[in-house]
Subunit: 194 residues, 4 copies
């Protein structure tokens, strides 16, 4: 059953919901087509199960890793963004995101699950770091405190980019992360005085 889910994730990610063929999934999983029906009611059930299973599994792994260091605000930011890049980019979660963007309109419950289980959690984590930073005097009370999505946005952008344009103009993950941290922390404006 794990093999079916894994095969299905690949096929769905590559072909989309409609484009995916149960034939292909069965072949990837090394079983026969009817066997899929021993474990899943139908294509839709398989699809939703794939999504939910992957989300919860990945989030569980991620959550375990996010024992936030007691370090400085900058270290915490660096850590959490590093984790975001590691989990979002070139991973199964990225495939899920692509699927949700593509098929979300037709599977709104999945969107909701992902929103609740993954997005909201990540957002809260980031907001916690920012708030602590402000409390410590490390960060100014910028609008980012209430819009932590802004801080995460470049990670999401890179995830999309890697799935699409990267082949034409590659962007290096580490370099991008470095620049990301720099800009977020310091902005692009030149020092006022002088």
């Amino acid at each position: 059953m794990a093999q079916i889910l894994s095969a299905a994730l690949s096929e769905f990610a590559e072909m989309g919901y409609e484009g995916a063929r149960l034939d292909a999934i069965a072949e990837r999983a090394g079983i026969s087509k009817p066997t899929i029906y021993l474990y899943f009611d139908n294509k839709e059930a398989l699809f939703t199960e794939v999504i939910e299973n992957t989300i919860t599994r990945t989030i569980r792994e991620a959550s375990e890793a996010v024992e936030l260091a007691d370090g400085t605000t900058e270290e915490a930011l660096r850590l959490i963004l590093g984790l975001a890049y590691d989990h979002f980019i070139d991973t199964e979660l990225m495939s899920i995101m692509r699927l949700l963007i593509a098929e979300g309109g037709r599977f709104p419950e999945l969107l909701e699950t992902y929103h609740k289980v993954a997005f909201t959690q990540g957002r809260a984590l980031m907001q916690g770091v920012l708030r602590r930073g402000v409390a410590r005097g490390d960060l100014r009370p910028s609008p980012a405190i209430e819009t932590p999505e802004l801080v995460i946005a470049p990670a999401v952008f890179l995830s999309i980019y890697r799935m699409t344009f990267n082949r034409f103009a590659p962007i290096d993950k580490e370099e991008f992360l470095g620049a990301h941290l720099d800009i977020i922390l310091n902005g692009i404006r030149a020092e006022e005085h002088a």
Copy 2:
């Protein structure tokens, strides 16, 4: 033919390439199915034509608007980001982006077209603004100069967000743009004081 393209864009955007039905497109366009074949060789040709047509048309409109004001660096940034938000969010271009994310793997030429025609151009524009800002002493020579994607990323993020999670936790476009400009310009770090 314009009606066909328009109908097809809607249908493809809603249903994806495989999910889209020529029946449905014909109905939306108020014509009969075979008529589509008078103008397009087949479904794939219609799809690529829809994408390319929409891209070029939208980009043309956008380009006309980007007679960059001679104003201050901040005004230029504000202007170009405002245009990005206006063209990317809740528009046809957003549908195209969704389609490219969803189907890009199977239609790489379309990705390339979009990359060349839209993305590269927008990136160059942004980079121009940034470079001029540095030259004028308004902006520091940050890594964003070579990674202008970072400055655009939140617009892309919001575009995706509006297509997916917005229904569960709405984000206001104008507010988000305001925060976006603030963070990009100033960063989140507290003034070093001294």
Copy 3:
């Protein structure tokens, strides 16, 4: 569409609902399988349409014929039973009856239709003849007046018989009808007196 209905009637009558193959129906009708779907939503719709269409068509024809002669009671009985035999035995209506017996449990609405449109009407007709016979003094006020089914029963029996056992021990329709009339009119008991 008439050809599809006709082909479907044959196939359903021979094979039952589940046993019937759309392939076979298409072939009998000289068309391709998908063409069936141009006219009928699915197998079930085709089935119910076949039944209802055949019933109403046949009943219409029958009704036209039942301009009951003003003749004697015996002539009227002879006429109406003759019509029953002609319409029930070795005809399309017989196939319908077989189908309803076989599949009635799964298609109760069809049973109801047939009951209303065919059976009730025939029963009322027979009852009318019997009542007039009693009024004229030709018939005694027997329990058959309120149970006209008894008078029709042998026709139904023969219909079933022809579909099943006739091949092993053939029963001649005309002879059977003759005996039927005789028994119904006179009973089998010997004259009392003497």
Copy 4:
């Protein structure tokens, strides 16, 4: 094995041959699907076995009961028709009859078995009673003597009726049997008087 046959009879009777599912039979019998194959070669073998088994079993029971009373002709008739009603209506034999009507075309050997084992025997029994009645002077030498089916027909009719239309316009078994005997014995014609 008895449980399998019983489960199979129910399922076949309800769903027809094609409609019946081995899954369902196994579940009704409280065993697993492959177990059926320990006792029966395949679905068809199970079906024919069910039919033949039920027929022979029921006929055996019936035969035992038909130690014809030495009573009057009328008593004998009453007895034999009573038995027919009891065995044909709302019983397993009725289900068998329905199955044979439905599937007889595809299983002619079953029809033959039923014809030989059940029908011919019942017909002979009835004919014996009639002939004895004529010999005794109780019955006239009517055509029914050579067509005893006519006398049985209403029982068959009622059996069919109970499987189909009874829900829309119920017929009481006992009343019907009473009317049946009256009509068969006396006919519906008024006394010639004199």
